[in-house]
């Protein structure tokens, strides 16, 4: 730790010796700002107490004592503690009371700082709040948490959903995940960075904005992270930053005392699409990690790094729901909270929660269990611990713990088989030996078998389990696709290996005999990315996987530029991919950029006095000698013709295509990009634009 601290000090000391260029000195700020004026005041709707807020207050008064409803608390509590002990082999145990938790936190804090990155004394003088610092007055908003319908007198035509529409690309079939754009076959739902959610009626080429939800989540600052549509309910998850006020000075409300990071889940009744109404607002202390909807319940995963127990709806969870590690080396917690979306219970009611004192890296939710992955760096070789909880109608029960060497390199590295067997592929990271392996566990997380020593010197780029087969792509200079037979979980077998140039970052089952790979074409000598690569693998004989067709999209002539970059955001966020073999389409966004080193960024301030107040930061025009292609693409596939481009739609604003999503409803394709929606007729060789809403 000390050594690390010294290294950080040295970095600061050495780099700080670099002299700041004259032009950047404070006395030259005025030169930098010639012609620049501050934009109009940023409007944010300030908290007011509307009916919706009052409803939320009512819910807060319903505490979350899940186990109080059961008779015999004490017996139950010990039984619960026993369950935890049995399932987690004593690695984790349920706390008896809050003091035990706080003592454990104190001990960790005293024993060691959790990370060298948490020292900053001596590096930077931070401007801590003195307690008296005033919060800036917001521009008075007229109508707080408003849910505004657009004032069109459109009649609600009830087109029953045909089922012919796309869904978010999910990690696990049947377990819903939130995204920035959703459709239910009649409407397109989306949200933007300005905390606004939109409901757009989509009837072929006819697009009509029905409502804009502009909710402040009863928070000082909220940012929507995820959205779900469940029938006539919309669920929005937001990362919030709440300021609290000193009560003694309640007559001067702008005295700032403490702040808290909160994750809030708002449920809206959208049965009238023109007039959504917030019916619940749940809050959990901590930052948003991810969420799922399964069996009609909402499962929220958050992490919290504060030095007290994170609260759920302002209450501490029951002590027996707090799991402490026998060997605590950090007090970061991972919190799971299940929230009712109906099903005979009040919407927004917390069903169960678990606070786990473990550094978690990812969570995987399958039909049988929730698998929380935690990295363990305490040994010289790192391990990943996997905790399994079963879940049923919102209730969590501990199942078991397993450990695998190395890291899970992709969300698709872990998979639950239909019989409950868990399969995990990892790469062990060492200074010069990278090696991959596959490990299997039974339902209780007892180890079953393993296959190790795969792909020495390479790491896993992509993984996909199809029934009892695992297809694994590793990468160094070429792209081996390994076929691993898992039909006997006790003895995974390597049965095939195909070597091709470039690599796939993402694999998706296409049909019974084909696997789609999306990745990058690389130069085998320099590893430079030369294009985005689509490959259809023939997997009819898993021992002999074949490349059936491949297409590489380059976007630019590399020879004309000094530097070219090509990136597919969907390769790091599978939800941005649209892959629908039934409809024969593959859709994804690409950010491609080419430049010569003579380029530099310039600031165009021609309209700086008259820009829209919600303008995003990414608005610097480039100099001429560069090219960019930030666009959404749709391809179709046939064995004869390979991949054929159906659509190329540039990003609406001058920014990256990361937030573009494609979807279809019967024969119309839609590209949603922030607040803009474009419709395309899917008939014909290429899609033709047929409508838009901006």
């Amino acid at each position: 730790m000390n050594e690390e601290y010294e290294a950080l000090q040295k970095i600061r000391a050495e780099i700080s010796k670099e002299e700041v260029p004259e032009a950047l000195r404070p006395e030259n700020v005025e030169n930098m700002l010639v012609g620049v004026t501050p934009k109009k005041k940023w409007y944010r709707r300030w908290q007011t107490y509307t009916l919706a807020a009052a409803a939320a207050v009512a819910i807060i008064s319903v505490p979350t004592f899940m186990w109080l409803n059961k008779p015999g608390n004490n017996i139950n509590q010990t039984a619960q503690q026993k369950d935890v002990d049995n399932a987690f082999d004593g690695v984790l145990y349920a706390a008896s009371d809050y003091d035990e938790v706080r003592d454990a936190i104190k001990e960790v804090k005293q024993a060691q700082a959790p990370s060298v990155l948490d020292y900053f004394d001596g590096f930077v003088t931070r401007n801590y709040v003195d307690g008296d610092m005033k919060v800036y007055e917001e521009e008075a908003a007229t109508d707080g948490a408003t849910v505004g319908a657009t004032n069109e007198a459109a009649s609600e035509d009830s087109n029953a959903a045909t089922g012919d529409y796309s869904a978010t690309n999910l990690r696990e079939v049947g377990i819903d995940e939130g995204d920035i754009v959703k459709t239910d076959g009649d409407y397109i739902y989306s949200f933007n960075n300005e905390c606004e959610a939109r409901i757009v009626k989509a009837d072929g080429s006819k697009l009509e904005l029905k409502a804009v939800i502009n909710d402040d989540f009863d928070s000082t600052d909220a940012k929507i992270n995820d959205m779900y549509i469940v029938g006539d309910k919309m669920v929005l998850v937001a990362d919030c930053f709440d300021l609290d006020y000193d009560n003694e000075r309640s007559d001067e409300r702008d005295y700032y005392v403490i702040n808290a990071d909160m994750t809030k889940v708002a449920v809206f009744d959208i049965s009238d699409r023109k007039d959504p109404e917030r019916i619940a607002l749940a809050d959990v202390e901590g930052n948003y990690d991810t969420s799922r909807i399964a069996d009609g319940y909402f499962y929220l995963f958050t992490w919290y790094g504060g030095d007290d127990i994170p609260r759920v709806y302002d209450e501490y969870p029951e002590a027996s729901d707090i799991l402490l590690a026998r060997k605590m080396d950090s007090y970061t917690t991972f919190t799971m909270t299940s929230i009712s979306l109906g099903d005979g219970k009040e919407v927004g009611e917390v069903i169960d929660d678990k606070v786990i004192y473990m550094d978690s890296s990812d969570v995987y939710v399958a039909s049988d269990g929730i698998y929380i992955q935690g990295l363990d760096y305490s040994n010289s070789r790192n391990y990943t611990n996997i905790l399994k909880f079963a879940y049923n109608k919102g209730h969590f029960s501990p199942k078991g713990i397993g450990s695998v060497p190395g890291n899970l390199e992709s969300s698709f590295s872990i998979d639950e088989a239909s019989d409950g067997t868990l399969r995990v592929a990892t790469t062990v990271w060492g200074s010069d030996d990278w090696v991959s392996g596959v490990y299997t566990f039974d339902e209780e997380m007892n180890s079953l078998g393993s296959l190790s020593g795969l792909a020495r010197g390479e790491d896993i780029k992509a993984a996909r389990y199809i029934d009892d087969m695992l297809y694994l792509v590793t990468y160094e200079n070429t792209d081996p696709v390994f076929s691993i037979d898992l039909s006997d979980a006790k003895e995974p077998k390597l049965i095939g290996e195909l070597k091709i140039p470039g690599f796939s970052d993402y694999l998706h089952p296409w049909d019974d005999t084909h696997l789609l790979g999306i990745g990058y074409e690389t130069d085998p000598d320099t590893s430079a990315v030369k294009g985005v690569k689509l490959t259809m693998f023939d997997i009819s004989d898993p021992e002999n996987v074949k490349e059936e067709k491949t297409t590489v999209i380059t976007f630019f002539e590399d020879s004309q530029y000094d530097s070219v970059s090509r990136e597919v955001p969907g390769l790091t966020n599978y939800k941005a991919m649209l892959i629908d073999p039934g409809k024969n389409l593959v859709g994804f966004a690409v950010n491609a950029y080419a430049t010569n080193y003579t380029d530099y960024y310039t600031y165009d301030d021609a309209e700086s006095t008259d820009v829209s107040e919600e303008e995003v930061i990414d608005d610097y025009p480039m100099e001429n000698d560069s090219a960019q292609k930030n666009a959404y693409y749709v391809f179709s596939y046939s064995k004869d013709k390979g991949f054929e481009m159906r659509l190329e739609q540039d990003v609406a604003s001058d920014s990256y295509a990361n937030n573009m999503r494609g979807l279809y409803i019967s024969d119309t394709f839609y590209v949603v990009d922030g607040d803009s929606v474009k419709a395309y007729d899917m008939k014909g060789e290429t899609y033709s634009e047929s409508g838009k809403l901006e």
């Binding site: 040295k10 050495e14 780099i15 934009k39 800036y136 930052n287 950090s330 960024y601 600031y603 990414d618």
Partner: protein, 173 residues
């Protein structure tokens, strides 16, 4: 430090001197942060001046004066990320870019120590470099870095120590 407040108020009204006063508290760290994550001095300078323009232009978005530092670093982080986009596949190695003609023309003395350090920093991947730089120059702890980068703080911590291990390895070569 409560004076921050009045400077922010003045800056919001369009007082560039007041803005410069606020900037004077952070500009060195800003430049060195940019230098740590980007490849050339030129890029670092561009990043800071773009940030200054953007920050001033959207000063009305700054809601509490005490957040000035974190706020301007957030803008800087976004600007550097944008610049990093153009680095993909660059055929020239980073050390070369940083210490070539430029140094000769400025007759700048670059110690072996600093060369080695910058060299080591540049063996890190983008995330690792951001994490280290954000901690060292912006003064963020792992939770705050996690928030800035959309990462679990546990991941930040492990990437952070992995990064320091890499630097150490490089240093002792």
């Amino acid at each position: 430090m409560n004076d921050y407040e009045s400077y922010v108020k003045l800056a919001k009204k369009g007082d560039k001197q007041a803005f410069a006063t606020l900037y004077s508290l952070v500009y060195e760290d800003m430049y060195h942060y940019a230098l740590a994550v980007l490849r050339t001095r030129e890029d670092a300078q561009d990043a800071v001046s773009m940030t200054v323009i953007e920050a001033y232009r959207s000063i009305n978005r700054l809601r509490s004066a005490d957040k000035f530092r974190g706020w301007i670093f957030t803008i800087l982080k976004n600007v550097t990320r944008r610049i990093m986009k153009k680095y993909y596949n660059a055929p020239v190695s980073m050390e070369q870019e940083l210490y070539t003609m430029e140094d000769a023309s400025q007759s700048m003395e670059v110690s072996d120590e600093r060369m080695m350090l910058l060299d080591a920093l540049r063996t890190l991947d983008d995330d690792e470099r951001q994490i280290i730089a954000m901690h060292v120059f912006a003064g963020y702890n792992s939770n705050e870095i996690g928030q800035e980068m959309g990462m679990n703080p546990a991941t930040v911590r492990s990437k952070g120590s992995r990064a320091l291990a890499k630097i150490k390895e490089r240093y002792h070569e």
